[in-house]
Each structure stands twice: as C-alpha cells, then as structure tokens.
C-alpha cells in the first residue's frame, strides 16, 4: 500500500525549497562567518537539487551540466571566502560578523 506511492518530482522540489529557506534563515541569524558560509552552501545545494530534479522532469541533460558549473563556482567561492576570513581573523580576535565594523559609516 505505502510502497505503491512513488515520490514525484514535486516532492524533491518542495524539499529543495525547504532547504533553501533553512539556509536563508541561517545566513541571517548566525553570527559566525564560517557557519554563515555553511548556510550559503546549504542554499547552493538546494539549487543544485532543483536543477537535477528539473533536468529529469524536462528530460534535458543541460540541467546536470549547470550543476557541474555551480559546483566549480561554489568551490572557488569557498576558497576565496575562507581566505578572506583567515586574513581578517589574523588581525583581530573576535570571530563574529558583528565585530567586522571597519566599513561602518
């Protein structure tokens, strides 16, 4: 009975939307820059899941190609972001986003 239910593409898309919402909430709430980066990764993964699901739904391989490029850009983004965090943290001690007020007007 229950085994007859097949998860449709809509289920996957809704799961990705929930994951994106959780990531958005995390970016706005957490104050540790590293954890904020992790929440951005959550949002990127939600988008990747959406792309792969839609590639299957519309039967087009280009959806999976886009995910490949998103992964490359995500890797580059994490490398640069963590480099910035390391460079900032070397000069000051506090590690919350609230402490980074150098550009405050």
């Amino acid at each position: 009975m229950i085994a007859a239910i097949q998860p449709t593409d809509t289920w996957y898309l809704i799961l990705a939307a929930v994951l994106f919402g959780i990531g958005t909430f995390g970016v706005m709430v957490r104050r540790n820059p590293l954890v904020m980066f992790m929440c951005i990764e959550l949002m990127l993964n939600a988008v990747n899941l959406t792309f792969v699901t839609l590639a299957t739904a519309v039967n087009d391989i280009n959806g999976q190609v886009v995910v490949f490029f998103v992964m490359v850009v995500a890797a580059a983004e994490v490398v640069v972001g963590l480099g910035i965090v390391v460079a900032i943290m070397r000069r000051r001690n506090g590690l919350t986003a609230d402490d980074l007020t150098a550009l405050k007007g």
């Binding site: 809509t10 994106f20 958005t24 909430f25 190609v65």
Partner: protein, 179 residues
Amino acid sequence: MELVVFVLAAAMVLGGALGVITRSNPVHAALSLVLTLFGIAVMFVSHNAHFLAAVQVIVYAGAIVVLFLFVIMLLGVDKTEDINIEPITVQRPLAAIIGLGIMGILIAAIVAADDVLVSRGSGIAATTVENPDENVRQLARSIFSDNVFAFELTSVLLLVAVIGTVLMARRVKSSGAGK
C-alpha cells in the same frame, strides 16, 4: 522502495540542515553539513545523475568541508558560541518570517507550476547494467561540445581564485606594507 530512499535521504538533508543552523560549535555544524551533502548525493543517484553524485561526495564532502574544518582548526575558533544571546532584538523573528516567506513562495510556485513539468529536452539516457557509464558519457558530450567555452572559463576562474587566495592569506614580511 523509492519512497523509502526518498524519506531517508530527506531526513538526512533536513536533519543536517537544522544541525548547521542550531549547533553552537562550528565543528558540529560542519559535520552536520556533511550529512546534508550526503543526503543530496543520494537524491542525485535516484535522479540518475551518478556523475554528479560522485562529484558531490568528492568535492563537497571531501574538499569543501575539509577546508572548513581546516580553517576552524587553523583559527582555533572551535569554541562553543553562545547562540542564546541575540544582539539585535527583532533579528530572529524577522529572519524566520523572511525564511518562511521565501519557502512559502517557492512551494506555492512549485505546486502551481506542477503541470509545466513536461518532457521537452533531447533526453537523458538511463544508466543500465549494460551501459554503466552512460550518464558520464552524455554529460561529457554536452560539456565538451555545447558548453566548452564555459568549461574553459571555469579553469580560468579556479586559477584566479587560487592565486587570489594565496596572495590574500600570505603573511606580509615587510613591517610597513601590512598597514
């Protein structure tokens, strides 16, 4: 069977995501992120995206999370952060409203556009026992023919990112240059 896989993978994804935003220790948050990434990889497999599932595990769970843990170790910030203090008083309710709002809008759009999901592409070949590398073959054919320019640009992007990070994280030797 597919339902069981979906439910288990969804539990991994959502449990890991909630762990990332609720654990006060950054190391625990990074390990929760691994759980989410593995759940996403399982979903990629159930969508016949075998190559992307492998890349997900290697690049995300292997490289990116290790990089996070490395930076946490390097900076020595694995102290538990007190997440009960709230510097801006209305921040969390507002963030919850915005997050739930985005979630609600997306779900409404997904449900409303349910009938748009019709097959109109040139087709994704299913991986079978006879053709175990069909997904990789098809993906490579698309990347190295239609998208070869974008592929070459990603190599430039990675090179720029590596050089930029090395320059940024380098310790400045001369005393006056760092100011």
